[in-house]
């Protein structure tokens, strides 16, 4: 039973990270129907920026919670700025182009950003300082779920709650929902669609950066390629839950995380990723719109 709980906790932690990144994919897809392939790279850039800032701070003698907060703020700002710029350069001019064009542009952007970080920084893994404070947990409890895992879970829960509130109750949230439903109609009723799209990219990127910081301090290392795998997994999570649906992204992330954890725990980690992708294929065959996605009747 304890073993099961441990695996469950591990899967939940992993899943909540997937969910954080998946939100960015799903929000963008909901609004402009684009798989933002470069999203994983934004996550990586967020983690990298946090690493750089916190190292510089540490060398000037600042550490602890204040360093964490400062590094996180800078990382979130920069990740959002990258997300914003990527949209302006690579996607905005292609709004009216055939579906394939922005997707290919996104793949190109992803390759570009990876290699930009590789060249500007280093191809090697860098140690990421553990910024998260250690919570005093009783040992029996700590064996099941560690302090960092707990912080990750709590942060994710808070952020998701906040995001739901923003989308439900703020004016911007309303505008986003309207744009997702019908872009042309939203434009007609006076919504600045371009700004809504920019906002979506900024919010999605900020969430990815938070995910990046959390996971990087959990695993303690960063390199230019971490965004690729996390991105693919998060994207899988978004599709699993039904792309375009925000609760779907959360559910998809958790389901994926738990699947991987149990697959490793009870079968073998050799085929961990195979399980993840196989689950995706099976769900899409049985329910092509994902777990919570709504089927849109093709417009004829």
């Amino acid at each position: 039973m304890e073993y099961f709980l441990e695996l469950f906790a591990g899967g939940l932690t992993r899943g909540s990270i997937y969910a954080l990144i998946a939100l960015g994919y799903t929000m963008v897809y909901g609004i402009i129907e684009l798989i933002n392939f470069a999203h994983g790279e934004i996550y990586m850039i967020g983690a990298f920026t946090a690493l750089i800032v916190s190292s510089v701070l540490a060398m000037s003698g600042m550490s602890g919670v204040s360093a964490l907060v400062l590094a996180s703020i800078v990382a979130v700002v920069y990740a959002s700025a990258y997300g914003f710029t990527v949209e302006k350069i690579a996607y905005k001019p292609l709004r009216r182009a055939p579906r394939l064009s922005p997707l290919i542009s996104a793949i190109g952007m992803s390759i570009f950003l990876q290699n930009y970080v590789l060249l500007a920084q280093t191809p090697d893994f860098l140690p990421f300082p553990n910024l998260l404070p250690e919570l005093p947990l009783p040992e029996a409890f700590g064996n099941i779920i560690g302090s960092t895992e707990l912080i990750i879970l709590l942060t994710t829960a808070v952020i998701m709650g906040g995001l739901t509130l923003v989308i439900k109750f703020t004016k911007m949230g309303k505008a986003m929902r309207a744009t997702a439903q019908d872009r042309d109609m939203a434009m007609l009723v006076g919504i600045n669609v371009n700004r809504v799209i920019s906002n979506t990219f900024v919010i999605g990127s900020a969430l990815a950066a938070v995910g990046g910081i959390l996971i990087a301090s959990h695993v303690g290392r960063v390199n230019f390629f971490i965004g690729f795998i996390a991105g693919i997994k998060a994207f899988t999570a978004a599709v699993l839950g039904g792309i375009g649906s925000i609760p779907g992204a959360v559910l998809g992330g958790l389901v994926l995380g738990l699947t991987e954890s149990f697959a490793t725990g009870y079968v073998s980690s050799d085929y961990e990723d195979v399980f993840a992708f196989a689950l995706l294929i099976v769900i899409l065959i049985l329910r092509p719109t994902g777990l919570l996605g709504r089927a849109a009747a093709p417009k004829v």
């Binding site: 190292s55 800078v74 700025a81 190109g108 390759i111 060249l119 500007a120 920084q121 693919i232 065959i285």
Partner: protein
């Protein structure tokens, strides 16, 4: 004063990029020795470069806008190379004869190394043409194309290892295995559209690689299979130069055959069905096109070529391991199709030659290879989405005769 406003935007843009690249380009922390390296010179570089690029960007955007307006006004697309060729078949004929002669004498003029990389480039051309059937013609975005390539390569390597089967037997076997894989993938994804399809194919490609990596008893795992024989030449042992030249001609022949078949396919009934499916799936099904069959044929035929090239790849490198079949390889083949111009045969060949040969000759820039590669993909989509050589869009005119309607290609 007017100059000042014209300069304001580029200045702002360059300031933005200097801000954006500041942490990654300027600061480098060495956590081993605890030193921070400040590379301020990079900032100046970024500032200047983005300032200048803004003008280029604006020029290209203006040109694109102008072209769009022009197209709207005259109801005609700009004069593309593809159209030009389509209008003057004799020029195309001269060009292809010239290219043929060049291709035939190439290995005798240039060194073994040149011949070798030329063969690689031609292999990618064939892969591009194969993927073009799926992506360009049927409009099914396949991000796991490399799985079929791997299927072909491993069929030859394993059949040879266990049963000593030779290259010539393995070539059709590999192609058929590839096609079977295509159908295997095709079945579950038939119901999916667009982006869902893309991600499932990506997952399929990854699964294939992971299985090859983990299933040691079957595929020898990550250490791969070595000592795969090169194709035999009537039992004569060839040295490296001979073998390379032989392989080159083999690939050239395959390339020509592919061009021929793909060209014929484009004008066939199934080819038109693919285009119909691509343009509007619902409408085409309403017109009586069997969606399932049409899509499966596209998958199977695309995979057929990948399997065949996979066999040649295994024979050429004499060693394969799963690391050669990653997503990046799929992206590479996809970008050949995209750069060349979706649906355009000469374009895809040009793009394959360009993407494979240029990095080989510009070894000095090898660090920047992928960076340039990525930005070219973005820029092509922005400023020349039709590719290097735009495929001439086929038009079919409907003419009514006394005896009844008849379709005529125009």
């Amino acid at each position: 004063m007017k100059n000042l406003t014209a300069l304001k935007q580029p200045l702002l843009v360059s300031a933005w990029f200097m801000f954006l690249t500041f942490p990654l380009m300027v600061i480098r922390v060495n956590t081993i020795e605890n030193v921070v390296e400040w590379r301020w010179r990079n900032m100046i570089w970024v500032g200047t470069a983005s300032f200048l690029l803004t003008f280029l960007w604006r020029y290209l955007s203006d040109r694109r806008e102008a072209a769009r307006k022009e197209a709207e006004r005259t109801e005609d697309h700009e004069q593309t190379l593809g159209r030009f060729l389509a209008g003057r078949p004799e020029v195309g004929r001269y060009l292809s004869v010239g290219a043929m002669i060049l291709a035939l004498i190439f290995p005798f003029v240039f060194s073994t190394y040149q011949t070798n990389i030329m063969a690689t480039a031609l292999m990618y051309a064939v892969l591009g043409l194969g993927l073009n059937i799926v992506v360009g013609q049927a409009g099914l975005l396949n991000l796991g194309y490399v799985a079929f390539y791997a299927a072909g390569a491993y069929s030859y390597a394993l059949l040879n290892h266990h049963f000593g089967i030779g290259f010539w037997t393995a070539l059709p076997v590999g192609a058929v295995v590839g096609a079977l894989f295509g159908i295997l993938l095709g079945f579950p994804v038939l119901r999916l559209r667009g982006d869902y399809l893309a991600i499932v194919t990506l997952g399929f490609g990854e699964i294939t690689r992971l299985v090859l990596e983990n299933w040691n008893d079957f595929s020898f795992g990550p250490s791969g299979i070595s000592n795969i024989p090169r194709p035999g030449f009537f039992g004569i042992a060839l040295d490296i130069r001979g073998a390379t030249i032989y392989l080159y001609f083999l690939v050239l022949l395959l390339c020509l055959a592919t061009v021929f078949i793909v060209n014929r396919l484009q004008n066939s009934r199934i080819g038109r069905a693919w285009i119909a499916i691509r343009e509007d799936e619902t409408a085409s099904q309403a017109m009586g096109i069997d969606g399932t069959k049409t899509k499966l044929t596209a998958f199977a035929l695309g995979a057929f070529w990948a399997g065949m090239v996979g066999v040649i790849f295994a024979a050429k490198t004499t060693f394969i391991n799963p690391a050669s079949f990653t997503f990046l390889e799929s992206a590479m083949i996809l970008s050949i199709v995209v750069l060349g111009g979706i649906g355009s045969i000469p374009g895809i060949i040009t793009a394959a030659l360009f993407l494979i040969l240029v990095p080989e000759y510009l070894r000095a820039f090898s660090n920047y290879r992928m960076l340039i590669f990525g930005s070219v993909m973005v820029l092509m989509m922005l400023f020349r989405p039709q590719g290097i050589v735009a495929g001439a869009r086929r038009t079919y005119t409907f003419r009514r005769r006394k005896s009844g309607p008849e379709l005529e290609r125009g």
